[in-house]
């Protein structure tokens, strides 16, 4: 069971590195690309956890659609390098310690939690959840939240249309 462990830590490190790069780099496109790296590593982690459908949708929706739109808009606006102001320094002096405290907190809770089936614990991944089971749960048990979300998205699309329309 050594191979999943290697893949897990490789992807975990890659995801963390991508997240750090996302904040550090000053070119907006590089930030967007780092976020893509995070998304793809997370997708591989989902695969390890036995959720291939979620992994594929993660790549398809986040990396393939949303981030493409981000990159597209950045290209369209031809956004230049990010400028650092005096306020950015505050982020460094207050944000870093606060982030460290948050990390400690998460580590504390993880340490005291029950060992589950996560790959990092050395427990084998559960059998892949079938698409059929997933869609049955989504469209029977959780139909109302699903429809509510789609209506929310519809409202957002209509809002964008109204905002983009020229005044007659």
């Amino acid at each position: 069971m050594i191979a999943p462990l290697i893949v897990f830590f490789a992807c975990a490190i890659l995801a963390v590195l991508g997240a750090i790069l996302l904040i550090i780099v000053r070119e907006p496109i590089h930030s967007a690309l780092s976020l893509v790296v995070v998304m793809v590593s997370l997708a591989i982690l989902y695969l390890l956890l036995g959720a291939p459908f979620v992994a594929a949708v993660q790549i398809l929706v986040y990396a393939g659609a949303i981030m493409v739109l981000f990159v597209f808009v950045i290209m369209l606006l031809n956004a230049g390098e990010e400028e650092r102001t005096d306020w950015s320094k505050i982020a460094k002096w207050i944000g870093l310690p606060l982030g460290f405290v948050l990390l400690l907190e998460i580590a504390h809770w993880l340490f005291h939690s029950e060992p589950g089936t996560a790959v990092a614990n050395g427990v084998a991944a559960p059998p892949p959840a079938s698409t059929f089971a997933l869609s049955t749960a989504l469209f029977r048990q959780y139909l109302l939240p699903f429809e509510a979300t789609s209506i929310l998205i519809l409202i957002a699309i209509l809002g964008a249309l109204v905002l983009a329309r020229k005044d007659q």
Binding site: H30, L33, P52, A56, I59, L60, A63, V68, V71, M75
Partner: protein, 401 residues
């Protein structure tokens, strides 16, 4: 030998990957030859003729030329993304091909299926998620060159690929409803697959109930691969060469190969989803092994006739003798190992027809204008594929109460 019997998955997978890569790379090279020859014939020209008999060594010469050209990197480019873009384009295009099954899943060597590099349970969604990342290669190439024409080309191309991806994915959902699975092998030969006949002679391919879906798919696929008549990203009269204007030498060749690899992928997908994949149109009887023998034999005879009458130089005659040998070898393989050779034969034949269709479109159709492209994609293709989905779903519900 002991190692092989102990690690069948590893060994068979590595051999499959190496073989697929070799075959696909060779196919990419010779697709350029095929395209130039067919377009030339449509325009009453000869096409490549002198490098090798009938220009057969032209792809090799082009490859060597690309390798030895000076590799110019624009000094003001964003170097990391500039180098990343062609790799991203080619790697993603080749990864997608690894998911394609070219034969039935039950033919095995050492207990491993031979005909697909990896048979994923959610193959179709995985394929779409990989191809959806292909936009990055184009967009990043356009942006990182730090130049006006590539930026415009990259912008156009990303907009086009995003727009047509919606219709591409929607047009396929009808087939998914019929098949009831996301696995590419099961879509062809699963319980709701495409084996069998209607009225004893029409093969049960999804193209017949899903003709609207297929037309939407093929239109969106041509747009998705940036080919004529949707090759706006590289409209040379307006944008020089579009997103890869600033790329030279082998980096340019990588974009070129990625484009052809994407063409192969969408053709494979069209074959699997709509045309019964590796299934034979005649039911797969024992006598069918004579069909490839007949086809390859006819090609060999044509080549022999060419050697005798047309070709002048002795080297060209020698090269064509090798080609004749190749055809005869292929015929022999199909005849003596029909179990292994027939499914790939049908599959590759169908892909070849799609490739010809691509080239045919290129030789025939004028390019769209940009606003026409956008309004066609959003106002015609998207509603039609949505309507197709709704009608398919309703009919399916009525037939399966």
């Amino acid at each position: 030998m002991e190692f092989i019997s102990q690690h069948p998955v590893l060994v068979v997978s590595l051999v499959k990957i190496a073989l697929t890569l070799f075959v696909v790379m060779t196919a990419l090279a010779y697709l350029t030859w095929f395209e130039r020859k067919v377009v030339a014939r449509m325009q009453s020209r000869w096409g490549p003729y002198y490098v090798g008999a009938h220009g057969l060594l032209q792809p090799l010469a082009d490859g060597v030329k690309f390798l030895f050209k000076e590799d110019v990197t624009p000094p003001s480019s964003d170097i990391v993304t500039y180098l990343l873009a062609p790799f991203l384009a080619l790697v993603l295009a080749l990864t997608a091909i690894a998911l394609i099954p070219i034969g039935p899943p039950d033919v095995t060597v050492l207990g491993q299926p031979v005909f697909a590099v990896s048979n994923v349970s959610i193959g179709l969604i995985f394929l779409f998620s990989i191809t959806s990342l292909g936009v990055y290669g184009v967009a990043l190439a356009g942006w990182s060159s730090n130049s006006k024409y590539p930026l415009m080309g990259g912008l156009r191309s990303s907009a086009q690929m995003i727009s047509y991806e919606v219709s591409l994915t929607l047009s396929v959902v009808g087939v998914l409803l019929l098949a009831g699975t996301l696995n590419l092998s099961d879509i062809v030969s699963g319980p709701n697959g495409q084996t069998g006949y209607w009225l004893h002679f029409i093969p049960k391919w999804n193209v017949f109930p899903q003709i609207v879906g297929f037309l939407c798919y093929i239109t969106a696929a041509i747009a998705e691969t940036n080919r004529v008549p949707f090759d706006l990203p590289e409209a040379e009269t307006e944008l020089v060469a579009g997103f890869h204007t600033e790329y030279s030498s082998f980096k340019f060749a990588m974009f070129f190969m990625a484009e052809y690899a994407n063409m192969i992928t969408v053709s494979c997908l069209a074959t699997i989803l709509f045309f019964g994949g590796w299934l034979s149109p005649f039911g797969g009887g024992e006598w069918e092994k004579f069909i490839p023998v007949l086809i390859f034999g006819a090609l060999a005879v044509y080549c022999l006739y060419d050697i005798a009458t047309e070709l002048q130089s002795i080297i060209h005659k020698l090269q064509f003798t090798i080609v004749v040998g190749l055809f005869l070898a292929l015929a022999a393989v199909c005849f003596f190992f029909p179990q292994y050779a027939m499914p790939p034969f049908w599959f590759i034949l169908k892909i070849g027809i799609f490739m010809f269709f691509y080239v045919w479109a290129r030789g025939t159709l004028p390019r769209f204008r940009y606003d026409q492209l956008m309004s066609f994609g959003w106002k015609l293709l998207l509603p039609v594929s949505l309507a197709n989905l709704v009608v398919t779903a309703v009919v399916w519900l009525v037939m399966h109460p």
